[in-house]
Amino acid sequence: MLDSFILGLSSGSTCLITCGMVIFPYLMAGTAGTRKIITDLSFFLLTRFLVYFILATLAFYFGKVIFTSPVFRNYISGILYMLFSGMLIWYAISRSRKPDCPAKIVETVNNRKLVPVLLGVVNSLGFCPALMLILTKSATEGTIIQSYLAFLGFFAGTALYFIPVPIAGKFRKKKVFETIGVMATGLAGIIFMIKGLTSLIGGIIYG
């Protein structure tokens, strides 16, 4: 759960910078009081929580079908960890990276009440490398509770950044925060790369 939380925290900062500016106007538009903002934000976070709950369940049972032996589990999870963490590192260092948020899709939705829920779904299902890493972790856990905990840690880590969404527009040094966030994401990628490498080597040696 710890490494999931760290991954959520590190990638969440980038998520806030790229998606915050899209989500914020939709949560705030046409509203007057903080009560409405809190309600919309709660719906947004609750939807993300539910989507992650479903993803954790699916990943665990999918993992049970695929990973039939512990050695196979070590090999596959090691390779997947390395692949997705490589993508995460690439995301952090790539200069051609487009800082677009998938949640932009809600621009086409007219129903205001549905917006927070739709934002939650789209934001959770933006299959970024960080989410792929958590899916891999969840699929290789021993019990379904551990699988839920992995997603819970990731959800908690990323959700922390959405709490100050209403004040996100007031950040003075947005570029600096974005740079540090992207670098932290790359570092999280390195942590998972090492995890994948040790898992793979462990599979080879003890297999």
Binding site: S10, M183, A184, L187, A188
Partner: protein, 383 residues
């Protein structure tokens, strides 16, 4: 212009330099002997006098030549080398090996190092406990003594700590001086924010794991001090990381870039010290009127603290470690040590004298112990 430069030069006469060295002479003698000189041990006396004289000669030369960085670097590099030697010697004397085991961790037998400080803050705030397996008050390199010394040095010198107080900075400072010209010149400016990302990661992981994750997994200087016994894949991976980071960030990249890459791109304490530059009274100032925009200061800065825009705006960024390299390189003396609140080109000599006195005292206090230990060990080989 030449007359103006002559007036600004910080070079002094022999007698005046000697006079400026006198207070340092007395203070270092008191600090190194503890106020009670004991000359009964022959090798100890030779080591003490050699260190004492060496330190004061360097301080004298800073005043006599008006140059700072060259003499600071000699002491800084010697400090880093002798400290690593002392640490290795102590661990080998106690454990007969450079490695430590889980037993040493459980017995809190780990010498404390200032790089751990960023990892202590969050766990100490939330759990009222120190997560590092070292001694809080007694023993070799206690946690409380190190924290107090670091705090004092950081508040006084700001990020100057990284060039005048850090135990390990001398390693990459030394390697950055190997070549006359850099091989890699173009490096993205945004990399200088990396230590903040590392700080964020190690502070959070340490708080959540209640373990000093930087020491456990990242610190490149484990390669030249002590490291975990290799007993499995995880400890082998750690040893591999320590050696790779030391080789890459402390040796290879500084040689190729002529920059202190470990300090600029990795060190989480450097990130905190960068922020402490906001509180220190000392700074480096640029006098726009004397500046001829040759940008030699930008080229020589080992810390990515100066850009062409900074020079044009007359500002030195908060990443500055006050090493003095830019000050020494400036042909028009436009860049100089200063005091906050005092305009550039005012009180230049006073500011430098005051800064040198304080910063040299810190490095003398930090470095003398390990230099004495090494000289004593060498002398003992011959006596």
């Amino acid at each position: 212009m030449d007359e103006a430069i002559k007036n600004l030069t910080t070079r002094k006469s022999f007698g005046k330099s000697l006079l400026y060295t006198l207070p340092m002479f007395l203070l270092t003698f008191i600090l190194m002997t503890g106020g009670r000189p004991d000359f009964s041990d022959r090798s100890g006396t030779i080591a003490l006098l050699t260190t004492f004289l060496g330190l004061n000669i360097l301080y004298f030369l800073m005043h006599y030549t008006g140059k700072t960085d060259k003499f600071r670097a000699i002491l800084f590099i010697v400090f880093a080398l002798t400290l690593s030697f002392t640490l290795i010697k102590n661990t080998i004397d106690i454990r007969q090996t450079m490695t430590y085991s889980q037993g040493d961790i459980l017995e809190c037998n780990m010498p404390f190092c200032h790089l751990v400080i960023p990892m202590l803050i969050l766990p100490a705030a939330f759990t009222q406990s120190i997560i590092y397996p070292g001694s809080i008050l007694g023993g070799f390199a206690s946690i409380s003594a190190m924290v107090v010394l670091w705090l004092a040095a950081s508040v006084t010198l700001g990020r100057g700590f990284c060039s005048w107080g850090c135990f390990y900075g001398g390693w990459d400072d030394g390697f950055s001086r190997f070549r006359k010209k850099p091989v890699i010149r173009k490096i993205s400016d945004s990399w200088k924010w990396m230590p903040f990302a590392v700080l964020l990661m190690v502070a959070l992981t340490s708080a959540l794991a209640l373990a000093p994750t930087y020491c456990d997994w990242i610190c490149p200087f484990k390669a030249v001090t002590e490291f975990e016994q290799v007993t499995g894949i995880e400890s082998a991976a750690k040893a591999g990381i320590f050696i790779s980071l030391f080789g890459g960030l402390v040796v290879v990249l500084p040689v190729l870039t002529k920059k202190r890459t470990q300090c600029s791109y990795l060190c989480p304490l450097g990130a905190i010290n960068t922020l402490s530059n906001k509180v220190t009274p000392f700074t480096v100032k640029i006098d726009r009127q004397s500046c001829n925009e040759c940008y030699k200061c930008v080229q020589v800065c080992p810390m990515f603290a100066l850009t062409n825009d900074d020079v044009k705006n007359g500002n030195v960024s908060i990443f500055c470690t006050k090493c003095g390299k830019c000050v020494d390189a400036c042909p028009t003396q436009a860049i100089h040590y200063g005091i906050k609140g005092v305009p550039a080109n005012r009180m230049v000599k006073f500011s430098r004298n005051l800064f040198l006195f304080v910063s040299f005292l810190f490095i003398a206090v930090f470095a003398s112990g390990s230099i004495i230990t090494v000289i004593k060990s060498i002398v003992n080989l011959f006596i």
